[in-house]
């Protein structure tokens, strides 16, 4: 009986801790969102942090990521076009390619790439800042860490994910056109008609909201995980591990939710 009681207490404490942690993430996201729309946030110092975040998250990876997205898109488009031709469904090849790539795959891949590269770095940096007492030192120097360090990173991260998704999507659309119609412009009306079928207002809103949610997730969750780390050095890797696992599940949940909204 004693062991059952201990087990239930342990499970309950774990569950309450889990709930508290998610409440912390949601509260932090809400606070960052409110501050992002507060004009007073934007001064010379915070603008500089936003610019740096965009530079490190989007600009630095632009050539490599664009090339990767172009190659992947072209290969997938070719697979879809060839398979559709084999089954006599060539008319649907373009629409299927665009739906798979632009609406689903590229936004998710962009978010995962940014999460692995910048999310992990942000998580580690914030955990170390927290452990080394740098956050408290900033407050002591009259600088609000939420306004100076965290919200600008969330804004920069969200803009970066949104911009990279838009760029790779446009690239995929161009490649899809070239793969299906070849190097000529006479099929633009047909292409536009398919675009109209795919990008309905609802699909466009879902895609935009999904990209925004991905952008928020890849910065909010790592920052919060870093802030939750107890102030002991050996907790730094644990904080990064927890943040990254949490981020992966949140990205998957956003993707599944967007699929459910669009197709169910």
């Amino acid at each position: 009986m004693q062991s059952v009681h201990q087990f239930l207490t342990r499970v309950g404490a774990g569950f309450i801790g889990w709930l508290k942690s998610w409440r912390g993430i949601l509260r932090f996201a809400a606070q960052a969102a409110v501050e992002a729309f507060t004009p007073a946030l934007y001064n010379s110092a915070t603008r500089s942090v936003v610019q740096k975040q965009i530079y490190f998250t989007a600009w630095q990876i632009l050539p490599g990521f664009t090339l990767f997205a172009a190659v992947l898109s072209y290969v997938l488009i070719q697979i879809v076009v060839t398979t559709a031709r084999d089954f006599g469904l060539s008319d649907y090849a373009l629409e299927v390619s665009i739906r798979v790539l632009v609406l689903e795959l590229l936004p998710l891949l962009t978010a995962l790439f940014v999460a692995l590269r910048s999310g992990a770095a942000i998580n580690t940096e914030v955990a170390l800042m927290n452990i080394n007492n740098e956050i408290r030192a900033l407050e002591e120097a009259g600088v609000d860490p939420m306004r100076f360090e965290f919200t600008p990173r969330v804004i920069g991260g969200a803009i970066s994910v949104f911009a990279l998704t838009a760029l790779t999507s446009v690239l995929a659309l161009i490649l899809a056109y070239l793969a299906v119609y070849g190097f000529q412009l006479w099929s633009l009306p047909d292409f536009n008609r398919v675009m109209g079928q795919v990008f309905t207002p609802a699909a466009f809103v879902i895609l935009s909201l999904k990209s925004l949610a991905f952008g928020l997730a890849v910065t909010v969750i790592p920052i919060r995980a870093g802030l939750e780390a107890p102030r002991m050095m050996f907790f730094a890797p644990i904080a990064v591990l927890r943040g990254m696992v949490r981020l992966f599940f949140v990205l998957m949940i956003i993707e599944v939710a967007s699929l459910a909204l669009a197709y169910i």
């Binding site: 010379s44 110092a45 500089s48 007492n133 120097a141 009259g142």
Partner: protein, 143 residues
């Protein structure tokens, strides 16, 4: 201070004071110049160039411009102390508390160094208190 409890009580009592302490590190991913300039840049919305000029001027007063572009791990104890002290000076707090200088400057005879540094910054701060233990009193010149 007679002991650590008394020291903590004094630091807590002066919450509005700018603390120069081992427990208040510099931002590790910013240079010394940026660590100092960030205060007026954030608090007074100065453009970075103007804030950096202010910070550079303070570093020049102490003859420490050579460490302006170094980050925390590359600094010597003196350079780190100077960066923290200037960050406190530029904040224009009514009181600067230099907490346990022996921890900040472990390898030098710090009382003359403190006197020279604070002397060079005359006019850039209102009051500066050095919080040290009573058993270190003989290190300081009599007043």
């Amino acid at each position: 201070m007679a002991d650590d409890a008394e020291r903590r009580a004094l630091v807590d009592q002066h919450g509005a004071a700018a603390l120069v302490s081992e427990t208040m590190p510099l931002r590790a991913n910013l240079s010394v110049l940026e660590n100092i300039a960030i205060v007026p840049q954030y608090r007074e919305n100065l453009p970075y160039a103007a804030a950096a000029d202010l910070a550079w001027g303070l570093l020049a007063r102490l003859g420490r411009t050579d460490c302006a572009f170094k980050r925390d791990p590359a600094l010597t104890c003196e350079e780190r102390f100077v960066a923290k002290l200037l960050r406190a000076c530029i904040l224009r707090a009514p009181i600067i508390l230099v907490d346990r200088p022996a921890l900040l400057l472990p390898d030098i005879h710090y009382p003359p160094f403190l006197e020279a540094t604070l002397g060079a910054l005359e006019g850039h701060y209102q009051t500066c208190w050095i919080v040290d233990y009573a058993w270190n009193a003989p290190l300081y010149p009599p007043r």
